[in-house]
Symmetry: D2
Subunit: 330 residues, 4 copies
Amino acid sequence: MIKAAVIGASGYIGGELVRLLAMHPEVEISAVTSRHHNGKKIHKVHPNLRGLDLRFTNNYNFDADVVFLAVPHGTSMKIIDDYVESAKIIDLSADFRVSLNLYKEYYGEHLKPELIDEFVYGLPEIHREEIRRAELIANPGCNATAVILALYPFKGEISEAIVDLKVSSSAGGRRENVASIHPERSNVVRIYKPSHHRHEAEVRQETKVNAQFTVHSVDLIRGLLATIYFKMEINEKELYKKYFRYLKEPFVRIVKEKGGMQRLPDPKYVIGSNFADIGFTYDERNQRVVLFSALDNLIKGGAGQAVQNMNIAFGLDETLGLNYLPVYPV
Amino acid sequence: MIKAAVIGASGYIGGELVRLLAMHPEVEISAVTSRHHNGKKIHKVHPNLRGLDLRFTNNYNFDADVVFLAVPHGTSMKIIDDYVESAKIIDLSADFRVSLNLYKEYYGEHLKPELIDEFVYGLPEIHREEIRRAELIANPGCNATAVILALYPFKGEISEAIVDLKVSSSAGGRRENVASIHPERSNVVRIYKPSHHRHEAEVRQETKVNAQFTVHSVDLIRGLLATIYFKMEINEKELYKKYFRYLKEPFVRIVKEKGGMQRLPDPKYVIGSNFADIGFTYDERNQRVVLFSALDNLIKGGAGQAVQNMNIAFGLDETLGLNYLPVYPV
Amino acid sequence: MIKAAVIGASGYIGGELVRLLAMHPEVEISAVTSRHHNGKKIHKVHPNLRGLDLRFTNNYNFDADVVFLAVPHGTSMKIIDDYVESAKIIDLSADFRVSLNLYKEYYGEHLKPELIDEFVYGLPEIHREEIRRAELIANPGCNATAVILALYPFKGEISEAIVDLKVSSSAGGRRENVASIHPERSNVVRIYKPSHHRHEAEVRQETKVNAQFTVHSVDLIRGLLATIYFKMEINEKELYKKYFRYLKEPFVRIVKEKGGMQRLPDPKYVIGSNFADIGFTYDERNQRVVLFSALDNLIKGGAGQAVQNMNIAFGLDETLGLNYLPVYPV
Amino acid sequence: MIKAAVIGASGYIGGELVRLLAMHPEVEISAVTSRHHNGKKIHKVHPNLRGLDLRFTNNYNFDADVVFLAVPHGTSMKIIDDYVESAKIIDLSADFRVSLNLYKEYYGEHLKPELIDEFVYGLPEIHREEIRRAELIANPGCNATAVILALYPFKGEISEAIVDLKVSSSAGGRRENVASIHPERSNVVRIYKPSHHRHEAEVRQETKVNAQFTVHSVDLIRGLLATIYFKMEINEKELYKKYFRYLKEPFVRIVKEKGGMQRLPDPKYVIGSNFADIGFTYDERNQRVVLFSALDNLIKGGAGQAVQNMNIAFGLDETLGLNYLPVYPV
């Protein structure tokens, strides 16, 4: 059994990690930490987890083979020294995902620049072999995962793309904020970030495409859809072939149907699962490619991908504890 | 033109008052106050009101014929002395709705007990004549309005009733609170108050029925439905007759249809309007009456009823500035 | 491996059965039938199931150890003869849940009265031992499951109760209907059935309580909450004890917390799981008990309970293939 | 008083027309027609309108100064001869909005090509003077209205733009369809039309921009947001100036704020009103303009704009019966 600790277990990503790890057949949870909720039963914060015999702790003196850092951006680099000797680390913050230059451009100063190169970017569909040998894994951002998976087959062929994102409220975390209360946040199509979203950095690094994000908050709790636009002379058949690389991927599905009603990706079709669904259309008239990429931001865009990385890094079957079919309709 | 001031205009009830008063043909808004937002344009807080040339002020030295107190419970009784000489007051807080005894039972100590009897309970369908002469009007609670209108015809005939309420998020006000953020507050049927809700006091006072509330938060931004249960030997025809008293009421509709799909009240049918919709069913087998009462909590349950009271108290047509048909579907 | 067939696999309950059975470690799906969708891949109807190698068939000549009838009420009794000799049957329709007398009162004429007594009512928390030996199992209704679990401890002590239900749209099935389209069915608290709902029959049979249902459709896709009212002299401590019977039940959780925000059952806390959450409050002032019971109507109220029954009837660990923690927030 | 008839009054646009006309101070409704609902009271179909004394008729022999055609695309051209002599016509279908060439490209054969040139395109912000003199007015599409208003200031300066639309369920009309039922249509970001949407034709005609639409259905009942992308060397100050042309428009608001939470258009801020809200951002780094345009698809995108056109064509104050502030939050 792998001993796993979750640092920062009171947020949505943290809760989802606990949920997945508690059901994982090869994992034993050794600690779930929260300074704020120290001593409380887990279900006081995550009511779905009632029945699990777990309490939040702020005792960081635990025994773990793997430590998940589910903490805010900027915090991982402050606390990482405590764990780096003793366990594999899977960091779900943005601190070690991109090169120092990109980090400075999108985030600012870095406190541990010397560690950045030690991290592997934890997107299994691209870096599986490096993850296998990794001690330090930077888990990708939710939006970045969706966009990179869709754009990667075009690496080297296009230089820029417009990325129109529709994201859910859980991506904003469990934080009180007047703009996030139900009367304000329901029934919206709100511009969350009109340009220069931080996840662009990961896409630029991994695909060499200057992806230009505009992020809209829509009335979803979970899930996201990226719609990606660029010019290219190609056709639908060749587009299809671009994605053959994913045919053996356990967690990528190509969604492209003629007729009927379920023809292109929709976050609704992946909720509760680790799938990323990718589809496309070719607009002949305008020689324009449109890609669609959907995933559950807390699973393939967060906790699920982290578990997938853990499975790989510990030599387990990559799908262990992740083989959940999406819940539908929900 | 009536000069109107809104004290506490940054909340949902306050915003709705400003919206209705701004469209009212016989009203001129003389002040909208907010300590927190002093100096800001109104649309910084109420984005729908962009285009209105109004700013929040914390200068309470204004000229007004009527002052609406849209402040939290407990605040009206602290500030009322400032206005009581100079203007009619319509208080939307709970401070002056019920007798001192009921107040003590449901709320606690009262700071202005001597003023309670000066107030008229502002439910026009029951107290229209007193409102006409009133200087001080206590605007009813949203849940109380729905329940009293439904139960009033049974006054003296029944002594208790079960009241199962389904309420919306705007009733909770514009306050930050982790339990109110979108991921937590969407997709719920949450027990907001399992028993002994404060609005029971108003129902007991006005109908002499011991109404026993259980309040559920559902995934609505606006609107509420009260389902009311009690035993009685009666039939549907006689139930119908009970409600004849409302036939000439401009803002009460009886909703009771056989067949089709719109047969009983639903908050969806009243959103954006000052209507209260009332319906009923008789369960012969169990000699049980079930009443249904729906309204828009911010309008007939708040700002709209306050404007209705103003119209009456100033001798205007009661429906002036309130004749809006509900927006549907929304 | 148990060979399982799902008759009527294109509805929501059918889809959920396929999802659960496909992930069940001891089950092999031998047929999923649909007259209408014969030949189509399963994901054409259930887009979440993309990746499963299954097609709908209308060939009813399959080999199965257990047959799930996920067909409309009235259909099971017409087709049951085809399977009754060769396999265990778990019927998810209402055809064999209640005695002939109750059936006639709530549904009408029965085509197979002689079979009714052969069926076991498939609520494991009450009939586990009979289910163990059963060949024919009638899977309870979703509303009935919630209400019976909450009321069963009061069997023999009370004679009637008011049951106010809040139900979701998936309970209405995958049927086109103007009243069910999104603009009409969103943002509602609609009276679905003001009295005499059919699931009352099951409650009367199992608990001997004359449960009087009023059913409201709310803006949920999944999940339901039953709020149950009756008079009784008792206190909260004794109420707690009533539910000790469920302490060892794998799929019943008692939700009763002081303070904090997750104190009573909410369908939001069980989505995607087989849990039924039960809680209560005692209204001293009115000597009134209020019970709350929440579940996922497609799982514990449908497909999950059917799988639980299968596990029991085949001598497997009752929780096999059902040990999913609820997905939250969703 | 203007006598107005609504042909096809049972749909969502038809219902909204009746609602607005019933509240209009200078209009008298002479007929609301529906073949299917002939004889029924209006509130049987539009439950919000309970209290209006109107019945659907299929007697087309009415007296009207203006006839609103709220019928499906393709129907107006079949029935228009009945009204063209006797009344001004405001057609809300797509039949007469674009030139014959564009019609053929996007819709197909036209039955009344000779009438197309007689129609004025009813977008008051661009064609006010022609509308003043018009007998035949083609009311713009909802998506087209949003996009044209945003792009018109760039006419002649850009040749193409990407248009990512987020639309609501009421735009799909009141039609039964499995894909539209609540369990399927809630919680989606569904690709409604990946490319070549028909409303492109109107944008091309009015702005000379090859607008390339991709239309997403989101979980809204009302409202839409268009996000529009194109390359241009400009800055935010100059972008602001582009929109000065709308400063005196009664129903266009420029929404562009620094800081705070209400800085760019959101359909949530216009619901229930005739406003179109337009905003923009300039992405310096990529020399990219992003425009945002939001409106209520049933009002400024439908019935409200039709009433605005009527006001102009009959020489009334353009805002009469349309001066409703948006309902918020809703």
